[in-house]
Amino acid sequence: MKRLLQGVLAALVMMPGSAALAQSQYIIVASTTSTEQSGLFGHILPAFEKDTGIAVRVVAVGTGQALDIGRRGDADVVFVHDRAAEQKFIAEGAGVRRYPVMYNDFVLIGPSPDPAHVSGGRDIAAAFRAIASAQAPFVSRADRSGTHAAELRLWKDAGIDIAAVKGPWYRETGSGMGPALNTASGLNAYILSDRGTWLNFHNRGELRIVVEGDRRLFNQYGVMLVNPDRHPNVKKDLGQRFIDWVVSPRGQQAIADYRIGGEQLFFPNAGSDS
């Protein structure tokens, strides 16, 4: 009880000072749920703070929303995974420059009974075609996230016009990765997920990975500084130091070191042309 009271008092004292704290050393990074919920940030940010003394406040939302937060000038750095949308972000002048950071991959998750008989395959387009023709339950994020963008790309690769053929079997949840996985778990449905969130997800039920390893499941992450010319409040020096650190050998090593159950989640590839 005493601890709780101390916590309340500390928080109350801190609150009026929060605006003043805005002058101290921190940046706001708008990022995706996959980096936050996979535990990656929890692993690499303490190292960054230790190296630079800069605190990082992560607002974890979908890629589309993260880019919007950047467009409004409410974040200093955007760290997302939808290359086409990122290039558009730069092209319209909302961001300064895009740096590739790392990649991981998407995996197709499905129920053990596997009604579409796709388990064990490596061809994601064939799997998507099988799901559509079996009309097996499929959960879509439908939230303009990076994963949603990737899913739509994969339907196109499979030669399926999902907007035309979708029926009751295709559930558009409009929610984040975690809630969508919870829905899929409840419905025993197929779902496209990033590997990191999947590995850190507990409520699996009968779900498991059914298709992985297709090069089309490649999932590239990029980081960008919000354009300080457009939003003078952007902490361009601190933000750039974060970007420089993430793509530096030390940052890249920290990313490579993050593992769940011995499995590496993200593969650094700064400097590549991805």
């Binding site: 916590g7 801190m14 805005a22 409410d74 990765m177 919870n182």
Partner: protein, 234 residues
């Protein structure tokens, strides 16, 4: 059923081990809810009392608006505050977005109408009882309002409590304007939302148990206060 027993065990373990992260989250939850309840009281008590006592043009419109505002969806309140506090919004230069004060503002937008509307009800009932007596004593409208607010203080304590309860249980607005930033704007409800989306249902429910315990404790306290007041003041 396994999830339920597991979550109670989790809640108990977190409480007895004095998990510092938990205490920080609970502390911020209580602080934000207290601050927004206090701000809402500063707005809602005088507003509700004034509307109860005074007669002016547009009063009935204001009463309807206050009652309607009680049903404001938290997400809408959050969105409005987000757009106002955003760097691209009118109050952007203050830099309040994604800070606890932003959460207090959003919750105040939600709770002040509740406190105002319930206060109006309490004061209006009291006013019909007290009016002749106070006017007989030469009490001005402003003096009467103060007297009514003080004389209904125990009923109003319950009003404030319902405001606090709504604030501490609310997630829709504060997750938008606070951003659920670990260690900065993460409170009980947004932590529950996060653990739910990570699929860690037992931990989410465990946090829910802690939140419920907290709200129950506050309720017991106010109930005891009212009982004491009933015995002492009738």
């Amino acid at each position: 059923m396994e999830t339920f027993s597991q979550s109670f065990a989790t809640a108990f373990a977190m409480l007895v081990t004095h998990d510092p992260r938990l205490f920080r989250i609970v502390g911020l939850s209580v602080a934000v809810s207290l601050a927004s309840t206090a701000a809402s009281a500063l707005i809602g008590l005088p507003l509700g009392a004034a509307v109860a006592v005074a007669r002016f043009r547009g009063r009935s419109v204001l009463v309807v608006a206050m009652n309607a505002a009680m049903g404001l969806p938290p997400v809408v309140a959050g969105l409005v505050v987000y757009l106002v506090l955003s760097r691209s919004g009118p109050l952007g230069p203050l830099g309040l977005l994604f800070t606890p004060p932003a959460m207090v503002i959003a919750q105040t937008l939600l709770i002040a109408p509740i406190i105002a509307a319930l206060t109006r009800q309490v004061i209006e009932d009291a006013w019909s009882e007290y009016r002749d007596q106070l006017e007989s004593l030469g009490s001005s409208l402003a003096q009467s309002t103060m007297t009514l607010l003080w004389d209904t203080r125990y009923a109003l304590a319950t009003v404030l409590l319902s405001g606090f309860g709504r604030a501490s249980a609310e997630v829709g607005s504060i997750i938008i304007v606070g951003g659920n930033i670990d260690g900065v704007t993460r409170v009980m409800t947004t932590a529950i939302a996060l653990e739910t989306s990570k699929g860690d249902l037992a931990l989410a429910l465990g946090l829910g148990v802690v939140l419920l315990t907290l709200v129950t404790a506050v309720n017991v306290g106010v109930h005891a206060l009212r009982e004491w007041a009933r015995v002492r003041h009738g």
